[in-house]
C-alpha cells in the first residue's frame, strides 16, 4: 500500500512547498514553548523532560559530593574529618538522594523526553501530569536535601529502620519526618509518571506499530512503569504507618504494644527490591537501543528481551526478604526468597546474552556510547555474580551489613545504571541539543570512570570480608583495612573526575560548533527522525510504521515524514493534537487534543508540597489550609483543562482518515489513567491489609480477646451505604447516557450525601466502641484501615459533586460523559476497598 493510493483528491498537495510552509508555521506556533517568565508554564515533553533530567543530575552531583565526603572520612583509620552524627546524615542522604532523587526520577525524565519521539507521537497523553510530577519532584527533593544544611537531615540510613527512627530518644529532631513526608510526596510524582508512561506506550503508538514492532525501549518502559505501580504503593502504606507512629504514637512498630519493627522492613523492601530493577531495566533499555545501531543490525532475539523484561518484572517482586535474612525469619521462608533471588538471574542473564549475540553477529562500530555499554556489561556482570553469592542465606549471614554488600550494590547500580545512562547521554545528546558531545572527552571520561570505579570498589569486597561494617563512620587501624580504604578513597576521586568530564562536556559553551547531521549514528528507530536542532512539534507527520527499524527498512521514510505525507501534517484548528491507537495493532482510534502550557500543575504541586512540609513541622492549621488550596487548585486544573467538549465530533487527520475528537469510557485515555491510578491505590490499600494480616500471623491472639471494637453494626451500616453510593454512580452514568439528565443529577447529589454518610459510619464504629489507637497495635490498625477507606469515600463524594457541577454547567452531556464514566470506575475500586476493609475489620474476627 503506497502513500499515494491513500490520498483523497481534496487533500492538500504535500509536494507543494508553499502548502508545507504554511503547515509548518501553524505547527510551530501551536507547539511553541511560552516566552519570558511564562516559559515555566510549559508542559510539553521536550521542556519538562529536559528540566526533569537536569534536576535529577543536579541531585546526583549533590549526592556524589556526599559520597566523596564519606571517602575522605574513611581514607585513614580513626579519622575525624566528619563527626559520627554528621557522617550518619551524609550516608543517609547519599543513599536516599541517589535512589529517590536520581535513579528512579532519571528513568521518568529520560522516558518523558524519548518515549514520544520513539513512538512518533507529538507528546505524551497527559503533559500537565508530567509537569505536576516534575514540580513535585523538585519541591520534595530540595526539601529533603536542603535539610542537611540545617544539620537536620535524616540520619538512620536510607531504609529508616525502626525502632531507631521511631523513638525520639534515639533520633531526636525532624530527620525521619523529613525523609518520610518528603519522599512520600516524590513517590506520588513517580506514580503519576508511571500512569503517563503506561498509557503512552499502550495508546500513543503510531499507526501500524503492532506490539511485535514496538521498540524494545517501549517494552521496558511498560514493564518498569507497571512495576512502579505495584512497588511504590506499599512504601506509601508503610510511610503512613510510620508517620502515624511518629506523630501520634500509634504503635505499629513498637513490640511493647503488639507492634513489630519487622513489618516496616517488609513494606520497605517490597518496594525496595523491585526498585533495584526499576532502576536497572530502563538503563538496560537504553543499551537495547544503542547496540543495534552500532552493531548495524536489528536486535537478535527480540522475544527473548521481552521475556527478560517481563520475567524480571515479575520475579523481582519475590526477592524482598533477601535484605532481611538476618531478622530471624524461619529458614523455610528464607528459602523461598533465596530461590527466587537465584531464579531472577535467569532473565537478567538472558538479556546480556542477547546483547552479546547481537554484537557478535553484527559489524560493530566502536564509539563512545559503545565504550560505555561495554564497561556497563562487564561491571554489571561482576555485580550480578556477587549478587548470586549474597542471595545465598549462609553467605549473606557472613557478609550482611559489611562493605562486601556496599561493593556488590555499587557494582550493580553503576554497571547496571550509571554506565548505560552515560552511554545514553552520549548517544542521545544530539536529540536534546542538536550537537554531538566530544569523542575525545567521552573517551577520557569513560576511562577515568571505569578505572576509578573498579579500583575504588573492588577493594571493598576485601574490606567487607575482613569485617569492615557499613555505615560506621570510622574503623580502627588494627582492622588492617587502612590500605584498601586509602585506595578506595583515591580512586573514588578519579571516578568523580571522570563524571565531571561528562558534566563539562555537556555544559561547555558550544554555540560556535555546527549542528550534527541528522540521524548522526545512522540508527533505525523513530526518535532519529528528529531534526538538528529539534522542532518543538516532535515529528513533522505521524508516520505509518510497518517495521521495527523504519528508517532502515521503510523506503523513503524520512522524506515521507518530512513532507507531511502521513497523519496530522497540519494544525488546522490551532490546537495541540496527537493520535490514539489500539493496544495490539496500533490502529488509529482517536485524534487526541492535548493541553498546552499552564501554571496550574505548578500551583497544585506547590500546595500539595506545602501540605507535606507543614505536616513535618506539625503546623496543623497551615497544613489544613494547604490541603484546601491543593484541592482547589487540582479541581481548577481539571475543570478548565480536561474533558473539553470539541466543536465538532470528528476531524480529518490526513490520508482520508476521519477520527473522533472525544471518546469516553474504556475508549478514552482518561479512563485508562483512572484505572491504572486506582490499581496503584489498591496496591497501597493491600499494603495496609497486609499489615493487618501480618499482625494476625505473628500474634497468637489477634484481635486481642479483650477488645470489642469496631463491632459489626456500624461497619455493616457503612457497607450498605457504600454499596448505595456505588449503585448511584453506576445508575447516574447509565441514566445520563440514556438522556435522563434530571435523574442522573439527582443520583449524583444522592451520591455526595451517601458517600459522606458511609465514611462517617465507618469511623463511628471504632469511635463508639472506644478503640484507642495508641493503646495497642490492634486498634491502631483498625483505625488506619477505617480512615483510609473513609478518606477515599470523601474523595468519592467530591467526585460526585464535581460531576454534578459539570452536568449543570453543560460541560458534561449525555454524549460527552468522560467525567462520570471515570467517576463510576473510581467507585468500582471504592466498592472493592470498602468491602475488603469492612470484611477484614468486622467479619474476619468473627470467623477465627
Amino acid at each position: 500500500m503506497t502513500q499515494a493510493t491513500l490520498y483523497p483528491s481534496d487533500a492538500p498537495n504535500q509536494d507543494d512547498e508553499e502548502v508545507r510552509r504554511g503547515q509548518e508555521e501553524r505547527l510551530r506556533k501551536v507547539w511553541a514553548a511560552p516566552k519570558g517568565w511564562r516559559y515555566w508554564s510549559a508542559v510539553n515533553n521536550t521542556e519538562v523532560g529536559i528540566w526533569y533530567t537536569a534536576v535529577a543530575f543536579g541531585f546526583m552531583l549533590f549526592a556524589g559530593v556526599l559520597a566523596l565526603m564519606m571517602r575522605v572520612q574513611l581514607a585513614v583509620p580513626d579519622n575525624d574529618f566528619l563527626s559520627a552524627t554528621f557522617y550518619n546524615q551524609v550516608y543517609t542522604l547519599h543513599g536516599t538522594a541517589m535512589m529517590f532523587l536520581f535513579a528512579v526520577p532519571i528513568f521518568e525524565a529520560v522516558a518523558i523526553i524519548l518515549l514520544p519521539q520513539m513512538l512518533g507521537a507529538r507528546d505524551l497523553p497527559f503533559p500537565r501530569l508530567s509537569a505536576f510530577g516534575f514540580w513535585c519532584f523538585v519541591i520534595g527533593g530540595v526539601f529533603v536535601c536542603g535539610s542537611i544544611f540545617f544539620d537536620a537531615a535524616p540520619n538512620a540510613g536510607w531504609f529508616m529502620y525502626p525502632p531507631l527512627t521511631t523513638r525520639e530518644q534515639y533520633t531526636p529532631g525532624y530527620g525521619p519526618d523529613i525523609w518520610l513526608l518528603g519522599l512520600s510526596f516524590i513517590e506520588v510524582a513517580s506514580i503519576a509518571a508511571a500512569v503517563e508512561l503506561i498509557v503512552g506506550t499502550l495508546k500513543c503508538r503510531p499507526p501500524g506499530m503492532r506490539l511485535n514492532l514496538m521498540p524494545l525501549y517501549g517494552w521496558y518502559v511498560l514493564v518498569v512503569a507497571g512495576m512502579i505501580l505495584f512497588a511504590f504503593p506499599p512504601l506509601i502504606a508503610g510511610d503512613i504507618l510510620f508517620e502515624l507512629e511518629r506523630l501520634f504514637d500509634w504503635p505499629f512498630f513498637d513490640p511493647s504494644r503488639g507492634g513489630d519493627p519487622v513489618l516496616w522492613q517488609h513494606l520497605f523492601w517490597i518496594f525496595g527490591h523491585p526498585e533495584v530493577y526499576i532502576v536497572f531495566l530502563p538503563a538496560i533499555a537504553l543499551v537495547a537501543m544503542i547496540i543495534p545501531t552500532f552493531a548495524q543490525r536489528p536486535i537478535l532475539g527480540y522475544s527473548w528481551i521481552v521475556l527478560a523484561a517481563v520475567g524480571t518484572g515479575f520475579i523481582s517482586f519475590g526477592l524482598w526478604v533477601h535484605h532481611m535474612y538476618t531478622t530471624g525469619l524461619p529458614s523455610i521462608s528464607l528459602g523461598f526468597f533465596s530461590a527466587a533471588s537465584e531464579a531472577v538471574a535467569i532473565p537478567t542473564g538472558v538479556q546480556i546474552f542477547v546483547f552479546i549475540a547481537t554484537l557478535l553477529t553484527g559489524r560493530v562500530i566502536f564509539s563512545v556510547p559503545m565504550l560505555f555499554v561495554s564497561g556497563a556489561l562487564a561491571t554489571f556482570v561482576i555485580g550480578g555474580l556477587t549478587g548470586v553469592m549474597v542471595a545465598l542465606v549462609p553467605f549473606d549471614w557472613q557478609a550482611h551489613d559489611t562493605y562486601f554488600v556496599v561493593a556488590h550494590l555499587h557494582y550493580v547500580l553503576i554497571g547496571g545504571m550509571l554506565f548505560p545512562l552515560s552511554a545514553g547521554i552520549y548517544y542521545y545528546w544530539p536529540i536534546v541539543s542538536g550537537r554531538r558531545l566530544s569523542d575525545r572527552l567521552g573517551k577520557l571520561a569513560f576511562w577515568l570512570m571505569f578505572v576509578g570505579f573498579n579500583v575504588a570498589f573492588m577493594p571493598m569486597h576485601y574490606s567487607g570480608l575482613a569485617g569492615m561494617a557499613r555505615r560506621v563512620w570510622t574503623y580502627p587501624e588494627s582492622m588492617g583495612v587502612g590500605a584498601a580504604n586509602m585506595v578506595s578513597s583515591i580512586s573514588a576521586f578519579v571516578f568523580a573526575a571522570g563524571f565531571l568530564v561528562i558534566v563539562w562536556d555537556v555544559l561547555r559553551p558550544r554555540s560556535k560548533e555546527p549542528y550534527a547531521k541528522r540521524n548522526p549514528w545512522n540508527a533505525g528507530t523513530l526518535e532519529w527522525l528528529s531534526e538538528m536542532p529539534g522542532e518543538s512539534w516532535g515529528v513533522r507527520s505521524v508516520p505509518i510504521v510497518t517495521t521495527r527499524y523504519p528508517i532502515w527498512e521503510q523506503p523513503n521514510f524520512i522524506d515521507d515524514v518530512d513532507k507531511g505525507r502521513f497523519y496530522l501534517p497540519d494544525a488546522t484548528d490551532m490546537k495541540r493534537e496527537t493520535l490514539i491507537t489500539s493496544v495490539l495493532d496500533g490502529s488509529p482510534l482517536q485524534c487526541l487534543r492535548v493541553p498546552g502550557p499552564s501554571f496550574m500543575p505548578m500551583w497544585a504541586a506547590i500546595f500539595t508540597g506545602a501540605v507535606f512540609i507543614f505536616a513535618t513541622f506539625h503546623w496543623w492549621a497551615a497544613t489544613i489550609g494547604a490541603m484546601v488550596l491543593s484541592l482547589v487548585s487540582i479541581i481548577v486544573w481539571l475543570w478548565r483543562g480536561t474533558a473539553q467538549i470539541p466543536e465538532v465530533r470528528e476531524k480529518e487527520v490526513g490520508l482520508g482518515l476521519k477520527l473522533p475528537l472525544y471518546e469516553s469510557g474504556p475508549q478514552s485515555i482518561g479512563w485508562w489513567a483512572m484505572f491504572i491510578t486506582m490499581l496503584g491505590d489498591a496496591t497501597a490499600f493491600m499494603g495496609l491489609i497486609f499489615g493487618y494480616f501480618y499482625f494476625f500471623t505473628i500474634h497468637v491472639d489477634f484481635p486481642p480477646p479483650t477488645t470489642v471494637g469496631p463491632g459489626v453494626l456500624w461497619p455493616t451500616v457503612a457497607l450498605m451505604l457504600f454499596a448505595a453510593a456505588w449503585a448511584s454512580a453506576l445508575l447516574a452514568r447509565w441514566s445520563n447516557r440514556a438522556e435522563h439528565v434530571g435523574v442522573a443529577r439527582f443520583l449524583m447529589a444522592a451520591g455526595v450525601v451517601l458517600s459522606l454518610c458511609a465514611s462517617a459510619s465507618l469511623l463511628w464504629g471504632p469511635y463508639t466502641t472506644g478503640l484507642d489507637p495508641s493503646a495497642h497495635v490492634y486498634p491502631a490498625t483498625v483505625w488506619v484501615l477505617a480512615i483510609w477507606t473513609a478518606v477515599h469515600g470523601a474523595v468519592g463524594s467530591v467526585m460526585f459533586g464535581y460531576c454534578l457541577a459539570r452536568s449543570i454547567t453543560k460541560r458534561m452531556t449525555p454524549a460527552h460523559d468522560i467525567d462520570l464514566s471515570n467517576v463510576a470506575l473510581y467507585w468500582h475500586f471504592m466498592a472493592f476497598t470498602a468491602f475488603f476493609t469492612i470484611a477484614t475489620l468486622a467479619y474476619f474476627p468473627m470467623s477465627v
Binding site: G208, R210, L211, N212, L213, P298, G301, Y302, S303, W304, V306, L307, V310, G311, F314, I315, F317, G318, L329, P330, S331, I332, S333, L334, G335, F336, F337, S338, A339, A340, E342, A343, I346, P347, T546, T547, R548, V583, L584, D585, T697, I698, H699, V700
Partner: protein, 125 residues
C-alpha cells in the same frame, strides 16, 4: 486441548504464566508465615504445610503446562518461526505466542525453584 479454537493472544495471555508463579510464591510465603511466624514452637514438624505447598505446586505446574501446550501448538501452527517482525496480525500472534512460551518456561522453572525449600526443610526453625 483447544476448547475455543485458537486463542487471540494479548498482554494478559502473555503474563498469565508469571502471574501463576506469583500466586504460587505468595501462597508458599503466606502459608509458611502463618504456620511459623508466631514463633511459638519452632521445632514442630510442618508436614501439613509442606504437603499443601506440594499440592498447590502440582496444580500450578499443570496450569503453566497448559499454557506451554497452548502457546507451543499455536506457535507451531503459525509456522513456528522466530521471525516475527512483519507487519501482519500473524506475525504479532507468532511473537506473542513465542514470548508466552518463553515466559511460561521461565515460570515453570521458577515454580520448581520455589518448591525446593519445602523438600529440605521440615520445621519452623
Amino acid at each position: 486441548m483447544q476448547i475455543f479454537g485458537k486463542t487471540q493472544d494479548n498482554l494478559w495471555t502473555l503474563i498469565a504464566a508469571p502471574t501463576i508463579w506469583a500466586f504460587h510464591f505468595l501462597f508458599c510465603y503466606f502459608l509458611a508465615a502463618y504456620q511459623c511466624a508466631p514463633n511459638a514452637d519452632p521445632f514442630t514438624r510442618i508436614g501439613g504445610t509442606r504437603l499443601a505447598i506440594g499440592v498447590v505446586t502440582v496444580v500450578c505446574l499443570v496450569l503453566i503446562g497448559l499454557i506451554v501446550r497452548r502457546s507451543w501448538r499455536e506457535w507451531r501452527v503459525d509456522g513456528g518461526g522466530t521471525r516475527n517482525n512483519q507487519d501482519t496480525p500473524e506475525a504479532r500472534e507468532r511473537f506473542l505466542e513465542f514470548s508466552t512460551l518463553l515466559l511460561a518456561g521461565l515460570s515453570f522453572t521458577a515454580v520448581i525453584f520455589e518448591t525446593m525449600p519445602v523438600l529440605l526443610i521440615g520445621d519452623c526453625r
